[in-house]
């Protein structure tokens, strides 16, 4: 989007008022699509609503407004379409929980057969993407269907009352991983990195992003829309309800997730990492975890520094693997 980078609150960001008109964010333009418009029923501080707005408006701008959307069942679908209302100002279809990638693939095939230039975006939460919809997602990748699929990852089944998903982090409290017993919260495992698995399909473009850096998110959507074939965008979207965090901390939490190394922000093309966002001000995972009630059991009266250390080790691995701290930080101008 721009080479201009200003340093602000620990990450690279620049206020819209400080850059030229044509360099401003999609959201700064009066003619933005408002793809998901006001009046929906998302919680206060919902990261997913924010992420979806930025993603789709950027996609709409990149495609000249010629976009159709396939949406998985989940919070995003429920809070936006209580009949007879709809918040969607894009052509939008919701089918099922586990099939949004296949529906999107079908749309792309149908549009191609009909000779229409319309672009296709598929989207869903982490449950619909990394768990129940994973077969369809992998099929879409493997066939290299011309779809941008976006996962809004809030790390659990928030719509059904905060149960664990394959994207829930270790030690996190959910409705079915209570802080009980010797291993409180979600189990420690290897996790399930949908972006890395997407990369293993060697599709043209994979990227991660968060709602803490919305310009970066827009830029990645624009880049994805400039490419044909299967593209995957994994966006970390904090959930105040599921994370037991303050609504006002959504952006802060997304930023701390990247600065702690727990959520690496990177891009990959054809299976190779091509860029990673450097951590300007590394923070211990402690700072990230303490703001969230779902990790409260790691700190209180029966603190579990051993588990915090394991989470820190995972973050450190990410920092090494993606070169997040060693990378030369880009300088502001």
């Amino acid at each position: 989007m721009t080479d201009l980078k200003l340093y602000q609150v620990g990450t690279f960001a620049a206020g819209n008022r400080l850059v030229d008109l044509e360099l401003r964010s999609v959201q700064a333009h009066a003619d933005r699509a408002n793809s998901i418009t006001s009046g929906h029923r998302a919680c206060q501080g919902c990261g997913e609503a924010l992420g979806a707005r930025y993603v789709l408006d950027a996609a709409m701008r990149a495609a000249g407004g010629d976009v159709v959307v396939a949406n998985a069942t989940g919070c995003l679908e429920v809070f936006s379409t209580p009949y007879p209302e709809s918040s969607w100002q894009v052509a939008w279809l919701h089918s099922l929980f586990g099939n949004a990638p296949a529906v999107a693939a079908g749309m792309a095939a149908g549009l191609r057969a009909l000779g229409r230039e319309t672009r296709v975006v598929g989207q869903g939460g982490d449950g619909g993407t990394v768990d129940i919809g994973f077969g369809c997602l992998s099929g879409m990748f493997e066939r290299n269907d011309d779809v941008l699929y976006v996962c809004y990852d809030n790390q659990g089944y928030m719509n059904t009352g905060v149960q664990r998903s394959g994207a829930t982090p270790p030690a996190a409290r959910t409705a079915n991983t209570a802080p009980l017993g010797p291993e409180p919260g979600n189990a420690f495992g290897q996790g399930k990195s949908a972006p890395l698995i997407a990369m293993a399909h060697e599709i043209p473009y994979v990227a991660t992003a968060t709602v803490a850096d919305l310009r970066d998110l827009e830029r990645k959507v624009e880049k994805a829309m400039s490419i044909r074939g299967a593209r995957y965008l994994h966006v970390l979207v904090p959930c105040p309800l599921g994370w037991a965090a303050a609504s006002s901390d959504t952006i802060r939490l997304a930023r701390l997730a990247t600065e702690s190394g727990i959520f690496p922000v990177f891009e990959a093309e054809y299976g190779e990492v091509t860029a990673a966002t450097p951590i300007r001000r590394p923070v211990p995972v402690d700072e990230y975890l303490r703001l969230q009630g779902r990790f409260a059991h790691l700190f209180g009266k029966h603190a579990r520094p051993d588990l915090v250390a394991r989470i820190q080790a995972a973050a450190d691995r990410n920092i090494v693997r993606f070169g997040l701290v060693e990378a030369e930080p880009r300088t502001g101008s």
């Binding site: 010629d66 379409t81 919701h94 586990g98 079908g106 549009l111 009909l114 369809c136």
Partner: protein, 401 residues
């Protein structure tokens, strides 16, 4: 033009001439020859302008069909057995969204125990999925019903499955009069979707509907299904005027006018049934048969009219509901609920499960028992049940004949 063709190939050629824009399919026996042939047609250009998606599962197949149909493309798939079950969630979704997808079901048993041979447990298990279900008795009928299925689906915005017995029809080579491309083009107009996703006129499809309107949405779906009962006979008549073949519409009555005993059946078994009917007639028994072409929606009035004053009705069930019994038989009773008097005795006979042949000899024996009133109409009967095998399994059999 008559051609000597395998059933699957005849169906594939006919489907190709219906010009689907998208085909999404996953291989499962005995559907494979249909989708293999279609893949060839797309590659060779015999089916131009069609996108063929080789998906990762039947769930993905139906989901891709939903997406393709949702943007306004004519869409086709085929499956069978476990594949149809794996689609189940998407089947209900497709019908709820009113998407006119056409699907061939190459009828096959459902496991466990795993069994690849023919019965109709698969499509019967999805009888309440909101899809129109048409059953073919021959490969000619399978071909003809596919053409009509696209017309019916698109006229009413309803998904339609055309059921043809796996192997018995799909793999049988016989002479078929294939509809010509020009004939089909005249009969089946280009797809004009009732509504579809268009970025120039964005709509929301698939909203969440709460208690205040859900019943009404479902009511409209029922109403739409019932409309198919009016529409299909019209389409069938139009078809006959163009192609010269009577496909029967909703039901196919055979020698029922003065019949005392009528056999009700779906699919390829009807050929054998009719031969037994003829033999009984020669022996002075007033027998007839009633083939059900349209199983969903259920043509209750046509069934009642065809059965008329018959005293006995034998329903040949190629699937059944364990712990309950009849599936089709219950619908027949439903159709006869307002028949005068006590109505006929209805016998439920499970036959031909998992590929077991339904022979003329067995059918004749069954009908002789029925006519002589040696069979209890209140019990579920299993044709050719091997009692010796049951005893060897150590399970005492009971309440069966």
């Amino acid at each position: 033009m008559f051609e000597q063709l395998e059933g699957s190939r005849a169906v594939a050629k006919t489907v190709a001439r219906c010009r689907p824009a998208v085909i999404a399919a996953y291989p499962i026996s005995p559907q494979t020859h249909i989708v293999e042939a279609l893949s060839d047609f797309v590659r060779t250009g015999e089916l131009p302008g069609c996108e063929y998606l080789m998906v990762e599962s039947e769930f993905g197949a139906m989901s891709a069909c939903i997406g393709a149909s949702g943007v306004g493309a004519r869409t086709y798939t085929a499956t069978a057995s476990q594949g149809l079950l794996f689609m189940a969630e998407a089947l209900f979704n497709a019908s709820g969204l009113g998407l006119p997808i056409v699907m061939t079901v190459a009828n096959r048993a459902i496991g466990s125990p795993i069994n690849i041979w023919n019965d109709q447990s698969d499509s019967m298990s999805q009888r309440d999925a909101g899809w129109v279900q048409l059953f073919a008795t021959s490969n000619q009928e399978a071909v003809d019903l596919h053409v009509q299925a696209f017309v019916l689906a698109e006229r009413l915005s309803l998904p339609v499955m055309v059921c043809m017995d796996g192997f018995v029809l799909t793999h049988a080579v016989e002479a078929v009069d294939l509809p010509e491309q020009a004939q089909i083009d005249a009969f089946l107009p280009p797809f004009a979707p009732r509504q579809h996703l268009d970025s120039r006129d964005p709509i929301t499809i698939g909203s969440m509907v709460g208690p205040e309107a859900f019943t009404e949405v479902r009511y409209l779906m029922h109403d739409q299904q019932l409309a198919a009962l009016d529409e299909l006979p019209r389409i069938s008549q139009d078809f006959e005027s163009v192609f010269g073949r009577d496909t029967g519409g909703l039901v196919r009555p055979y020698r029922t006018e003065d019949a005392d005993v009528i056999v009700v059946a779906l699919g390829s078994v009807l050929g054998g049934v009719n031969e037994v009917v003829d033999a009984l007639r020669e022996d002075g028994v007033a027998a007839g048969s009633l083939g059900i072409t349209c199983f969903r929606p259920w043509p209750a009035e046509a069934v009642r009219a065809a059965i008329g004053p018959a005293r006995q009705v034998v329903v040949v069930e190629r699937a059944f509901a364990p712990g309950v019994g009849a599936i089709v038989g219950q619908d027949v009773r439903h159709a006869l609920r307002s028949a005068p008097g006590d109505g006929p005795a209805v016998y439920d006979v499970v036959a031909g499960l998992g590929g077991r042949p339904v022979t003329r000899a067995s059918l004749r024996g069954l009908l002789d028992d029925v006519v002589a009133e040696r069979l209890d109409p209140h019990e579920l009967h299993f044709l050719d049940l091997d009692h010796e095998l049951l005893e060897r399994a150590g399970t005492p059999w009971r309440r069966t004949s």
